[in-house]
Symmetry: C3
Subunit: 338 residues, 3 copies
């Protein structure tokens, strides 16, 4: 895969080598993401941030990643009310808006919409979520987090033991992560969900076709004892036929410190695509885990900035220029460091 | 006309020399607008972008133009809900907000509102549309596009042959363009519209007073054969007394590749102020023209950035400084180039 | 008080020395706020601007202050619709969002919410208003304005004579200003309000405990003759039990040029936290005062930018670096200067 000038629309674009490229660049971005150094490599470049549906964390994460490379961000968060209402085609919108920036990040509620936009765009487009379809930077940051957390434990993604827990049917993040893990070897999957929220067959087939091991379970406690990573998910109630239907499954699996201590190997890593649902009837990851050093959920979101910096640097072909335009940070950053 | 420190409120401010100044500066901005070079001449300056009604393309176009000169943009897109609701006068709003930036661009639904704001502002104000009244940068980018398109054909705005097609009654862009064309000599106008949507008398009078030629028609096909420029417009249904009334006129004139090939001179340029209405019952400019190299509609919006850069450079008095603060672009831009 | 890395949540954090520090840094910021010089000291830093309720002037003032120090701003103005609706705790929101920026400014309608957010944040947080509770930068800019206006008159905050006029019950700005003035000596307060909108007892007690003089009155004209500062406020109708209740008090005190000339000492300074209510039934500060050079209300909002620059510089520990990264302004600024 050649990143330069490419759209990033789907995790299916990535082979193992492409993933390694992204992760290698991401590592080079760490000093900038962690505010040890400043780079101005993209000074003068403009990111067009086009969110046709609301988002805070993904939108801000992409925007900060571009700022950290020295570029500017022009945002649109209320496109619905504008030209499209006057009968403008998506093609026209893409031709016009892509003239304003050097790269675009876009979210839209319709599946395939970002790819359609990209086909008419004159600059590279990054998919930040098109409905239930794809959100590739989320999958990459999840995989990057797994890799980093395991590195400190002397392990690799090859031979990973991972338990996926919760709503495996509607969770877009889980699906994309599974697809990426199928590029690696000898992964041991434990899938924990009620039967009605099981991982769709297409992903089960992919896991088997990749030669990975697969165990399905409806019980959490007995399934988390031999895992390197617990990947816990929220019940995606907004995608269920009704809230009443979703309510049947909320709170079914709850991990807290006591459960963790009793059932998990020491240093089992806890991940979650966030937001976690901390309401009493859900609470899949209890707040009493917040002081557990193996809770990686906020390192995950931090890694999101790093991964997005890497994607921008690769697409805009400035990987080798980043350090040349850099210097030390000269302001207070102490609270951020662990 | 002295641009330095001036408000840009109306096309009536411009004489022919002022237009030539804007276009001359715009040409100097092209390498920056096209991402061949980066300039940082306005590094540290702030544009206050105040859109009291929603807009994507005009808002982003102004913002990008300012970023491309090195400046920052602070935006407001939801002013209604704030101080004005607590009884604040427009005078106060202008005094306060103009203290925050070096130049302001503003859109508001009330005619004359931007001029009223400007009279109390402590920094220059650019009108980005005040209701049905004025949108001067749109008229300037249209005229600049005509000039650039004709240049490649060995022609000039003097002696231009232009057909204005569609809703000539409610189209603000058409009215402003006509006013600017009256500053030139020997323009041949063909006005194509149903009688109910004819160009208002004040503009007909201006055309005649300027000594231009004028033909009115209700038929498109017979009227487009001797034109350098076809300027096609959308039925501005939102300004009609009712949608039912507007519906009578939608789809009345439809230009497609077959019509173009049959009736137009080779290389006739097609323009449109955008958005074009691509719904089946309207479709004034068919998508089968998208590959026609004479379709200039996306070059028009690109020129919008260039023209706005020129206006900022003139008003803030940095025209002679732009190149001094410049360097080559160091990131991928290949897809953008034609 | 050590500012470096601190949250700014309440005026109660400030002692007299801390205030002097802020004002001293603010004075050093003046050439930058007034566009005489440009500094890039925070180039590469990111401000997370998180407004959970709408605001134009405070939001833009903080954003411009950060831009004027060379930093970038990532804004969120519609957080309600996002992760929190999916059951995310405030703790999680703070952990995630604070990973994206170097400092955060936040407004939220709930009292104490900003402090709660700050306790989980990994970067310093500035309170830009948490409901009826605190808005410390407003109080600081008011006090800074008093100091600057009096300087030209050979006076100081010690021995100040100030008349607070209008809705002293619901005005958050008045309450915070009173708290700060209690750190100084021998202030003479004249409190002008209807009994129902009198200053709450806790502030009266604080004034007395500080050894200040205190006169209460229900008549404006007889109360403004021996003041250095008139601090006039709007009836905060949105905080009353009903608009009908608020209507009883609107228009009760109206200062205009004739009243000012008849009753005030020459050069009495007029302040107002803005917005002033210029509707006919309110009009607490008449527009005929706009040409009065003692009307300081727009100097107040200008000072807001300066004060916010000072807070950022102190918190991020770059006070001594500001000038080193500076140069002259190279664009038009003439209209701004008085």
């Amino acid at each position: 895969m050649n990143f330069v000038g490419s759209h990033i629309l789907s995790v299916s674009q990535f082979d193992r080598q492409a993933i390694e490229s992204v992760f290698s660049v991401a590592e080079a971005m760490e000093p900038y993401a962690q505010r040890k150094r400043v780079t101005r490599v993209l000074e003068g470049a403009i990111l067009g941030s086009m969110f046709f549906e609301p988002s805070t964390r993904t939108r801000v994460s992409f925007g900060c990643a571009f700022n950290l490379l020295g570029g500017e961000v022009r945002e649109t968060t209320e496109i619905k009310a504008t030209a499209i209402a006057k009968g403008e085609s998506f093609y026209d919108t893409a031709r016009v808006l892509s003239g304003y920036s050097d790269v675009i990040v876009m979210r839209h509620e319709l599946e395939g919409s970002v790819a359609e936009f990209a086909s008419a765009s004159r600059v590279p487009v990054l998919n930040a979520g098109d409905g239930a379809n794809e959100h590739p930077s989320q999958a990459l940051l999840d995989l990057y987090t797994i890799r980093k957390e395991l590195q400190g434990r002397g392990k690799t993604i090859d031979n990973l033991r991972i338990a996926l827990i919760g709503d495996l049917r509607y969770g877009r993040a889980v699906h994309s992560l599974v697809k990426l893990l199928c590029l690696f070897t000898n992964v041991q999957f434990t899938l924990v969900s009620p039967p009605e929220l099981a991982l769709p067959a297409v992903y089960l087939d992919a896991i088997r076709a990749a030669g990975h091991q697969l165990v399905e379970s409806t019980q959490m406690n007995s399934s988390i004892s031999n895992a390197d990573i617990l990947y816990v998910t929220r019940t995606q109630e907004e995608r269920f036929p009704s809230l009443a239907e979703a309510a049947k499954y909320k709170g079914l699996f709850r991990l807290n410190q006591a459960t963790y201590t009793q059932f998990c190997e020491p240093n089992t890593v806890i991940m979650h695509p966030l937001p976690r649902d901390s309401r009493g009837d859900a609470n899949e990851l209890d707040n009493d885990l917040n002081e557990n050093p193996n809770l990686a959920i906020f390192r995950q979101t931090d890694n999101g900035v790093t991964i997005r910096m890497a994607l921008f640097a690769l697409i805009l072909d400035v990987v080798d220029e980043v350090d040349k335009h850099s210097r030390e940070v000269n302001w207070y950053t102490a609270r951020r460091l662990p």
